[in-house]
Symmetry: C2
Subunit: 222 residues, 2 copies
C-alpha cells in the first residue's frame, strides 16, 4: 500500500514540461512547489527507474544541453492517464506534525522568554516566506501571457500568502500575550533556577547541532 507521492510529482512535472532529467526535477520542485513539497535525489532517481520499468514514463530526447549528457524523460500515454486518475482521487491529510506548536503547547515548562523567542523565530521565517512568495508571484506575472497552468499556480500561491499573512497576524498578538505572561511568572512558573547555574548551557542563539539523540547520555542517576 505505497502511496508513492514522489512518483506522481514526477508525472505531474513531466505533464507540464517534457524532457526533464532527475536533476531538473529536483530544481523545479525547489523553485516552484518548494513551498509545499520537497523531494530528495534518494527518492527521485529510484522512482524514475521504477516508472520507466512500468511504462509510465520513457527515456526522452536526452539532449546534451550544453552540459553533460543528462538522461531526460517524457510522459507516456499510460503515464498521463495515471496522473489524471490520481488527480481525481481525494487528497490525503498530511500527517499533522508541527514542532513549533508542540513547543508552544509545552511552553509553560520553560520561561516565557523561550516561547517568545520561538514566536519571533516563526515571525522571521514567515516574513521570509511571504517575501519569497511575492517574488515568485512577481516573476510569474512578468513572464508570458498564455500559460494555461497559470490560474492553478496562482491559486496555490494565493493560499500560501493567505496562510502566511494570517500566521503573521497571529504572531503579533501572541507576542503581546506572552509579554504579559512574562511579568506574572513569579507566582506560577516552575522553579527554573532550582539548581545553582552550573554551565551556561543556554546561550542566546543556539544552534541545533545534529539534533541531539535521546539515546545518548542519560547522565542522571550516577
Amino acid at each position: 500500500m505505497p502511496s508513492n507521492q514522489s512518483a506522481y510529482v514526477i508525472l505531474g512535472l513531466l505533464s507540464i514540461q517534457p524532457n526533464l532529467s532527475g536533476y531538473d526535477m529536483r530544481k523545479m520542485i525547489r523553485s516552484s512547489v518548494g513551498y509545499f513539497w520537497s523531494e530528495s535525489y534518494g527518492q527521485i532517481y529510484p522512482a524514475l527507474k521504477r516508472l520507466v520499468a512500468v511504462g509510465l514514463i520513457a527515456p526522452g530526447n536526452s539532449v546534451a544541453t550544453g552540459r553533460k549528457q543528462r538522461q531526460a524523460y517524457v510522459l507516456t500515454e499510460p503515464g498521463r492517464a495515471r496522473l489524471r486518475q490520481w488527480l481525481a482521487l481525494p487528497f490525503q491529510n498530511d500527517p499533522p506534525r508541527n514542532e513549533f506548536l508542540l513547543k508552544l503547547f509545552f511552553g509553560r515548562e520553560a520561561a516565557p522568554e523561550v516561547s517568545i523567542a520561538h514566536v519571533r523565530d516563526l515571525q522571521e521565517r514567515n516574513r521570509r516566506m511571504l517575501a519569497n512568495l511575492l517574488e515568485i508571484e512577481a516573476s510569474a506575472q512578468a513572464g508570458n501571457p498564455p500559460n494555461p497552468h497559470f490560474p492553478y499556480w496562482m491559486l496555490t500561491l494565493s493560499l500560501g500568502k493567505t496562510l502566511t499573512r494570517a500566521a503573521l497576524d497571529w504572531g503579533e498578538a501572541a507576542l503581546t500575550e506572552l509579554s504579559a505572561l512574562e511579568g506574572a511568572v513569579l507566582s506560577t512558573a516552575p522553579a527554573y533556577g532550582k539548581r545553582p547555574k552550573k554551565q551556561g548551557a543556554e546561550s542566546g542563539k543556539q544552534v541545533r547541532k545534529k539534533h541531539g539523540s535521546i539515546r545518548s547520555k542519560a547522565r542522571g542517576a550516577k
Copy 2:
C-alpha cells in the same frame, strides 16, 4: 542523528500530568494536540522503554485504575532537564508536504471540476476542524480556573483557528475563480475525452482503497 520528537512529546505530557501509561498518552495526544501532532503505538511503546533505559522517565505508581494494571510513568529530574533543554532549541521546519496543494498545482491536467471537488473537500474538512477547535476551546474554558498551562494552550488553539479561518476564506475565493475557469475550458484544456469512455472509472464519490501502488499494472502498451 535522530530527532526523536516522539520522545519529547512523552516528556512533555508527563511534565503536565504524571503517572500516564502509553495508552493514556495516545489518548491525550489525540484529544489535546491532535490538531498538530500524532503518535502511533508503534512509536510510543518502544520510546517508553528507551526513555526508561536512559533514565529520563521511570515507572510510576501503576495504579490499577478500575481497569487492568497499566504501566504508568513519571518524569525524572534528568527527564525534566532534558525537556527544558529541548524546549529551548529552535524548532524544526516541518517537512512541507501538502497533497492538496500538489493536486491543485497540477490541476490543469484534469477538468476544472476535479479541482473544484478538491477545494470543496478542503472546505468541508476545515469546517469540521474549526468546529472541533471551538469545541475544545469551549470545554477548556468551562473547566477549572487556575491552570498555568492555559495561556499556552490557548495560543496554540488560537493559531489553529486563525489558519483554518484564513483557509476557509481562501476556499471561497478559489471556488469562484475555478468556476470561471469551468466555462473557458473549451479552448485551452487538454482533450479529456480522447478515447471513448470505456469503463466508468470516475464515480462521483471515489474512495481511496488502499492507495493504489504505482508498481502495479502499467496496463498501457499491451
